[in-house]
């Protein structure tokens, strides 16, 4: 076609940002705000990556977000909120009403509790449910505060803390950060039942308590309980489009439907990128929102520029889960259905090793995290209806052998099982009210975001690969000059907040490099 040649992009950019997910959007916005000439390239036709929405019939569904971490009320703003507010987005966020409802379905584990936000209210409730647990759980939260102080201190020193100060003032942080949740909870003597309640948030990490790093887990639980959880009023597509608008207003350029196929490297330095549209763009700086797994195995060109250690790092790490989501537009209200809560964690039990194992085959997982969106946003769907989404997960590899001709039947069977579990656990008659249904599988994740093998939860945050060692080693684990990563595989592990903040860090590191090399006008 004659025109497509003229449509090619062949200019020079200070920075090319690959991918408009949470990480890439913030990186692009921050760089644009600081007057760098940037080009943001996204392979899909929408911004957001996982942070998006889609319309079916009368409903606009949230694709992924259950709860935004570290947002906080206007009187007690969290880091994520302060970061996003910097861009003065025309986008509203609303508070989620309660922390969660945990329902365990195994007959000998039977539990059904609603947990509130607020440390004191939470402690009161857990004491009521598991008498004698209050003090040990309080210590758990105290440790979280110690860890917060420690990470703030490390942040203030720009990653170069004084070892003596750490030892003297932040010993609780030092002494726990190499351990699993189970190790520390054993040391704290938290009673079994209280642990079941306290560990319900494990679904947001999906690594068993025997392996998951204590620091990341305790910070997450404490952050949610202390500051509450928030969601965008008009789905994630609203704030990601607000970011798109702001990036352009700040002079950044965005191209959708444009896949970066090659990051060109010469003598260990980034020199440009090439895209699926035949664009050849010169740049010495790439901020990459695609995972290191994809970048080193697929994007770096020529392959001889990939150092052996980069492959080794990827192969040593464990890829996290992919998700399975059933999106339901129901023609009854949440009240009519008896869905009283926003967030339901419904598992067979709280043996997280067993639950994790249930994600490792094509049987229906024993874990689900279900949202009734109208409980946070009453008018998110037309009068007389409500939106429910059921999220579960699979370990990478489980779906590998599924054939296209079996795919629809398989996903429907798993969806039906998950709906049945929800019906039994809550008593809500879901099936008879389905007006719209959409089911997303690991294949769907791969299709829309190109995430490697459909992986959503980045690399598993075991202690040796949790955010503390990742931040401590971020300078030595950089292998190509001019290449920074950001997003859910990044320095803060996965999740919206982590990916957003990681985008800011990647932007600042790139900026520092630009300034040091005198490349910025």
């Amino acid at each position: 076609m004659s025109e497509s040649k003229e449509q090619k992009i062949e200019d020079l950019y200070d920075v090319v940002v690959i991918g408009a997910g949470n990480g890439g959007l913030i990186a692009a916005a921050e760089l644009a705000r600081r007057s760098t000439k940037i080009l943001l390239l996204e392979q899909h036709n929408l911004p957001g990556g996982f942070a998006s929405s889609f319309v079916r019939g009368r409903f606009e569904f949230e694709t992924s977000l259950h709860e935004l971490y570290d947002w906080g009320a206007s009187s007690n703003k969290g880091g994520t909120r302060r970061l996003l507010e910097r861009y003065e987005l025309d986008s509203e966020f609303v508070a989620v009403p309660e922390a969660y409802r945990l329902i365990l379905t195994d007959p000998d584990e039977c539990m059904d509790v609603v947990m509130p936000f607020g440390i004191d209210a939470y402690l009161d409730t857990i004491e009521k449910e598991a008498p004698g647990s209050r003090e040990s759980v309080r210590k758990f939260f105290d440790l979280a505060e110690d860890i917060n102080r420690a990470t703030n201190y490390i942040g203030q020193t720009k990653g170069h803390p004084d070892q003596n100060v750490l030892l003297k003032e932040h010993s609780n942080f030092l002494k726990t950060t190499a351990y699993s949740v189970e190790d520390v909870q054993n040391a704290l003597n938290i009673p079994e039942k209280a642990r079941s309640i306290l560990n319900a948030y494990w679904v947001y990490l999906l690594v068993p308590m025997s392996r998951v790093n204590f620091t990341i887990f305790v910070s997450m639980v404490h952050g949610y309980i202390l500051k509450g959880a928030y969601i965008p009023k008009f789905r994630s597509h609203d704030y990601t489009t607000a970011l798109d608008t702001r990036i352009r207003e700040l002079g950044g350029k965005i191209e959708y439907n444009t896949t970066v196929e090659k990051i060109l490297v010469e003598n260990g330095k980034v020199v440009g990128v090439e895209t699926s549209k035949g664009d050849k763009i010169k740049t010495n700086h790439v901020v990459c929102n695609a995972s290191p797994t994809l970048t080193y195995n697929k994007l770096i060109h020529p392959k001889s520029e990939v150092p052996e250690i980069a492959y080794k790092e990827i192969n040593a790490r464990r890829h996290g889960v992919s998700t399975f989501v059933v999106y339901l537009g129901l023609d009854a209200t949440a009240d009519e259905l008896g869905l009283t809560d926003y967030s339901y964690f419904i598992n067979n039990n709280m043996n997280t090793d067993e639950l994790y194992e249930s994600l490792n085959n094509l049987e229906t997982p024993k874990v689900q995290a279900t949202i009734c969106l109208n409980r946070a946003i009453p008018d998110c769907s037309p009068p007389g209806t409500c939106i429910v989404s059921i999220t579960s997960a699979f370990l990478p590899g489980v779906w590998d052998a599924v054939k296209p001709e079996d795919y629809f039947t398989l996903k429907n069977k798993i969806a039906e099982d998950l709906i049945n579990t929800l019906e039994t656990a809550t008593g809500a008659p879901i099936k008879e009210h389905i007006e719209e249904i959409e089911v997303a599988t690991p294949q769907t994740i791969s299709r829309f975001t190109r995430a490697y093998n459909g992986v959503v939860y980045g690399y598993e945050p075991e202690s040796w690969d949790s955010f503390v060692p990742r931040l401590m080693t971020m300078n030595d684990e950089k292998h190509i000059e001019g290449l920074e990563f950001c997003g859910g595989y990044g320095k803060r592990c996965h999740g919206y907040s982590s990916a957003l903040k990681d985008g800011e860090t990647a932007a600042l590191l790139t900026l520092q490099d630009l300034i040091q090399k005198g490349e910025l006008k």
Partner: protein, 409 residues
């Protein structure tokens, strides 16, 4: 918090072991890396599955042309291995393909329902049935040019017009008009193959007897599966020789006569005027939303008949300043044609699939100016409305515009 307030000192294993564990954190990480394999990862199975189910493009070749009626032909399409399409994407009966056709040097797309069954795709073919329209920009061209051996570029299977067992009732009522029968042929075949556990009654509106598509084929299916498949012809002409058919249009009386209205899921597919008519008729039954599924009907044909369209601009031709990639071009655009059509006429090769406002594939940014969007084809997300993103296939220029369009995938 100050040091005095600090409540306790944690000991996980023992004080020294805990601190030692911390100092070992980074070295043990390095050791893990050193020990790991340095093999690159060369496969991505979910990406491979995604490409098989949702290929960006399928290169097809016409292997057979069947004359159905005086104005319709069925094209059998097989993969074109010379263009690296070796197998066809599986699909759900009722979905469509967006075909890309170059007509007189201008590239456009059109959606066509797949009329063959999903298992036929595994055997290596799709069938689509096309009615020649008057005047018909594209269909006239197809009639003249498409021969056995002609190569055609297609999207993967698209759309949401399919039976969903978790939502729909086992009794499907297809309300079809004209070439809107095509997706029902796919559904009927899947039922006949015992791959879809449902029953299908089709009320099929045609204007003349010799306009009925698949007449004999459905006769055979009805005979073979009398409890599962039934077709009732509804003819709007005066003289009829066919037995057992109804005269007139798809009225509530006819629907009631052949269907258990309250225990059926209705699927509508046909020309726009039929939707308006049928939906009025269905209103009488007060059905729940979920019991009526509609196929997207393509571009609005007569935007002037839309009561909310600003009639005063009807005759106008506006200017659109379109950015696409690095190119900025000023192009003319009639008020009565969608922005997408203007972009296609200018040969800018914009993305598009459903041409009905629904799929969002053509989503573009409205930098300045104003468009008219009919409420029936406004499927934009809340955020897109707020930040001026729009779907060119369902938007009509009512002032000069400046827009940014993504390049086609």
């Amino acid at each position: 918090m100050s040091e005095e307030e600090k409540k306790f000192d944690i000991i996980v294993k023992s004080n020294t072991r805990d601190l030692f564990a911390f100092t070992k954190l980074v070295p043990s990480r390095k050791k893990r890396f050193e020990k790991a394999s340095s093999e690159p990862i060369t496969t991505d199975p979910m990406n491979e599955l995604a490409i098989r189910l949702h290929p960006l493009r399928q290169y097809l070749v016409i292997s057979e042309i069947i004359n159905e009626t005086k104005s319709t032909k069925t094209y059998k399409l097989t993969p074109d291995p010379n263009s690296n399409t070796n197998q066809l994407a599986y699909f759900r009966a009722g979905q469509y393909l967006s075909l890309k056709v170059e007509v007189n040097g201008v590239t456009i797309t059109r959606p066509y329902s797949i009329a063959s069954s999903p298992s036929d795709a595994l055997k290596g073919f799709y069938e689509i049935t096309i009615r020649k329209e008057e005047p018909g920009f594209l269909t006239q061209f197809i009639w003249n040019k498409w021969k056995v051996g002609t190569k055609i570029e297609s999207s993967g299977p698209e759309g949401f017009f399919f039976y969903e067992p978790l939502r729909d009732l086992k009794q499907i009522v297809g309300l079809a008009g004209g070439s809107g029968i095509t997706p029902f042929r796919s559904i009927a075949k899947e039922i006949a193959e015992d791959k879809l556990d449902a029953k299908l009654t089709i009320l099929y509106g045609s204007s003349e007897e010799d306009d009925i598509i698949y007449h004999n084929e459905f006769k055979v299916l009805e005979k073979k599966y009398p409890d599962k498949i039934k077709v009732v012809h509804v003819l709007s002409c005066e003289k009829v020789t066919l037995e057992g058919c109804e005269l007139g249009f798809l009225t509530s009386d006819i629907i009631e006569k052949y269907c258990d209205v309250n225990n059926s899921s209705f699927f509508i597919c046909g020309p726009q005027i039929m939707y308006n008519f049928v939906e009025k008729e269905l209103e009488k039954f007060n059905l729940l939303h979920k019991r009526i599924r509609r196929e997207a009907f393509g571009e609005i044909k007569e935007i002037l008949s839309d009561p909310e369209f600003p009639q005063e601009v009807a005759e106008k031709i506006f200017k659109i300043k379109a950015q696409i990639g690095n190119l900025t071009k000023e192009i003319p655009a009639k008020a009565t044609e969608s922005v997408l059509v203007a972009l296609e006429r200018a040969n800018l090769n914009p993305p598009s699939k459903c041409r009905s406002g629904e799929c969002g594939f053509c989503r573009s940014l409205l930098i300045s100016g104003d468009v008219y969007i009919s409420p029936v084809s406004d499927w934009r997300k809340a955020g897109d409305k707020k930040f001026n993103y729009f779907h060119p296939c369902a938007s009509y220029p009512i002032t000069d515009l400046e827009i940014k369009v993504p390049r086609h995938l």
